[in-house]
Symmetry: C2
Subunit: 416 residues, 2 copies
């Protein structure tokens, strides 16, 4: 008998009708001669509402209490799902993260999984139960409820699939899978049949927020294959897995775009140890996330230091940096709103040379000016004018032949 772990996000259990659909799907999966463990998120909107309540009573909610508060969202959703299954003649039971054996470190709000002891799950599966586990949570060694951070239910699913040695791990979500590009931007965008963990990680970091990065990192570390698929359709989705040799035949897996970015340049700054540190620690202290960082070649002992942040953080970043710029005797602070980031991602880059040149050439011919460039082993990212990002994505998608991407052999098979 196969053991399947399925994860349903907040949208998939967003109202009682959808919970009943999930219940039906779980019953059907069990009837296909499977043991079924389902990880359930809080109903859409519930977590945000609880956070709002917390901030109404406290400017800085106690993290221990916030974890208890937020965990109730998943408790409620799992209990409702179990009820719905039982009402349809199935046999289900709900477990908290603690009952499912998920032990974490002592950190609240963003705990790390330390150990999983799924003894009770195995017993319940042996008794023919569909086991419904509250996502996003565990308990620490003191028995206190902890949560795994936003999107933590993905991590629960992948970690449990690993610990249970499941035959498949299916992440049901409100998208059909991972696409070569956002279909709203590029109408020819294709759903990928498979993707390497590293590619998914780079795409997640590049604005395609399909999965929590920590969940993908965990899957990579422990080699847990999983499938991202739609909870509203029966179609197969995208399988994330270890890269294989034939995956390298495709140079670029996808194009991601990140809108509403701002570019900040500290002009003519001394190229000395500690200067960059001063600048970025100032930004980090205000919880502003810095994305791309580029430093130009040093000439005459000075350099230009550029980085991108979200547009909405620009005003506070300016205020914070102006005194620092004076202090380190830089020539000035140049900022630019309305820029966007375009990234091409693919493990094929490693074995195919000239990808960067092809990208720059493609954009150059279209008259799209590149303002910043940053590369990793499997990603090339460029900052361009925000008004041109859709056209740039369409051209890039075409240039690398993503619309006619040939699926790798065997990727349509079920996992395991």
């Amino acid at each position: 008998m196969r053991l399947i772990v399925q994860k349903y996000g907040g949208t998939s259990v967003g109202d009682t009708e959808r919970i009943q659909n999930v219940a039906q799907r779980l019953i059907e999966t069990q009837r296909e001669d499977c043991q079924v463990v389902a990880i359930i998120s809080a109903m859409a909107g519930v977590t945000d509402n609880l956070i709002k309540l917390a901030h109404a009573v406290s400017p800085h909610p106690t993290e221990r209490e916030l974890d208890i508060l937020l965990a109730t969202g998943e408790h409620a959703a799992t209990a409702l799902t179990a009820m719905a299954i039982n009402a349809r003649g199935g046999k289900a039971i709900s477990l908290t993260g603690a009952e499912a054996g998920i032990l974490t470190d002592r950190t609240h709000a963003k705990a790390r999984i330390a150990n999983i002891s799924p003894r009770q799950i195995h017993e319940l599966l042996a008794d023919d139960y569909i086991v419904i586990v509250a996502g996003f949570q565990g308990q620490n060694a003191e028995g206190e409820t902890t949560t795994l951070g936003r999107g933590g239910s993905d991590l629960t699913a992948i970690a449990l699939a690993g610990a249970l040695n499941a035959d498949a791990c299916q992440i049901f979500t409100d998208v059909d899978g991972v696409f070569t590009c956002d279909p709203r931007v590029v109408t020819e965008a294709k759903k990928l049949d498979e993707i390497a963990y590293d590619e998914l990680l780079e795409m997640a970091g590049a604005g395609s927020k399909i999965m929590q990065s920590r969940a993908v990192e965990f899957a990579k570390k422990f080699g847990v294959q999983f499938e991202v698929r739609s909870s509203f359709k029966a179609d197969t989705g995208t399988i994330a897995k270890e890269e294989t040799t034939n995956m390298e035949d495709i140079v670029i897996r996808g194009v991601s775009i990140d809108r509403n970015q701002a570019k900040v340049t500290v002009d003519d700054v001394r190229d000395e140890p500690g200067v960059a540190g001063r600048i970025f620690s100032t930004i980090a202290a205000a919880n502003i996330v810095v994305d791309m960082i580029v430093q130009s070649v040093s000439e005459h002992g000075t350099t230009d230091l550029s980085f991108t942040i979200h547009e909405s953080d620009l005003d506070s970043a300016r205020k914070l940096l102006e005194p620092v710029v004076k202090d380190v005797q830089a020539a000035g602070l140049i900022t630019k709103k309305g820029v966007a980031k375009l990234s091409v991602v693919g493990i094929g880059m490693r074995s195919h040379s000239g990808v960067a040149a092809r990208l720059f050439d493609c954009l150059g011919k279209a008259g799209i000016n590149i303002q910043l460039i940053s590369t990793s082993e499997i990603k090339i990212a460029v900052v361009i004018d925000g008004a041109e990002v859709e056209r740039a994505a369409q051209l890039t998608h075409e240039e690398f032949g993503l619309a006619t991407l040939i699926p790798a052999v065997g990727s349509m098979q079920p996992l395991g």
Copy 2:
């Protein structure tokens, strides 16, 4: 140092502003050199909403899962209260019923408390924490969440006050205390300074739904004094306690009214064993609550059997009883809507004779017809026309001098 247990109901924590008021009151109580344990109910409306969700996914929700679902309401409210205290510079921690050491039997939905091990509470109090306990819940020997039934937070408070040997147990609610009559009916109604457990039980059974009856029974059994008081005012409320000799000096403690009742009479029924059983088991099977039951003196082997139910249950009761009436060869079924019950309650009745006569005389002089009479040792209840119940309450209140009730000596002092 005194140990105070305070219980706040759903209305008292109905929104974030009220939660902050409760937090402030708990901090102030601790500053008065007290150790403080607070029992918190779910925010007003939350439990009803969860029940609605459950019934939307299941006609008969699994009781185990329903308990998990409902318990989240109290978890959330306790976490929010603890956060609010911490935000105001206090030191608080929230506990689930299980963490507070409340062990129940295996019954779901209406579990009975089997044992309380408040070790963790004592430790936290010794560390200067204000301990916030989720009301209405415990866990069974298997570690599953159980709930204590509607109003179960009162029971949690009284049981914990008993187990902790608290110096005072204060039930904060949206009324100022227990009154001689509903002040909306009798403007001269006075707040009672003290009341005997038995009187409170009889008044609770007579439409004054201030406290869950099981909580009062528990308090009586274990001799836990408690005070019912307003969470919106600083005034002292009503202390419920073992009866004392001087409490008997007051003949009647209060007048309760119960509107929207219906009277059902099974006419001329054989006075044989088993007949009443058939009638009432039919009613009970439909979950209809029967209040007063009166059987007239048997003549010629037949009798009249009358009882009251809530008006809204009358139609279904009629349908259920008509075949039974035929079956037991009774003469017929007479029903009457729009009646009301008026009860006078007081332990003083035991030592003062003539109370019934005084009540009947008072109502008779006012031309108010008594349709049914039922008495207990400390209560006399009559069924009258619903349109006359307010006038009857005012007259009764005056007849027994309740507006000028002299408070018993010492009852204004704090408990303990």
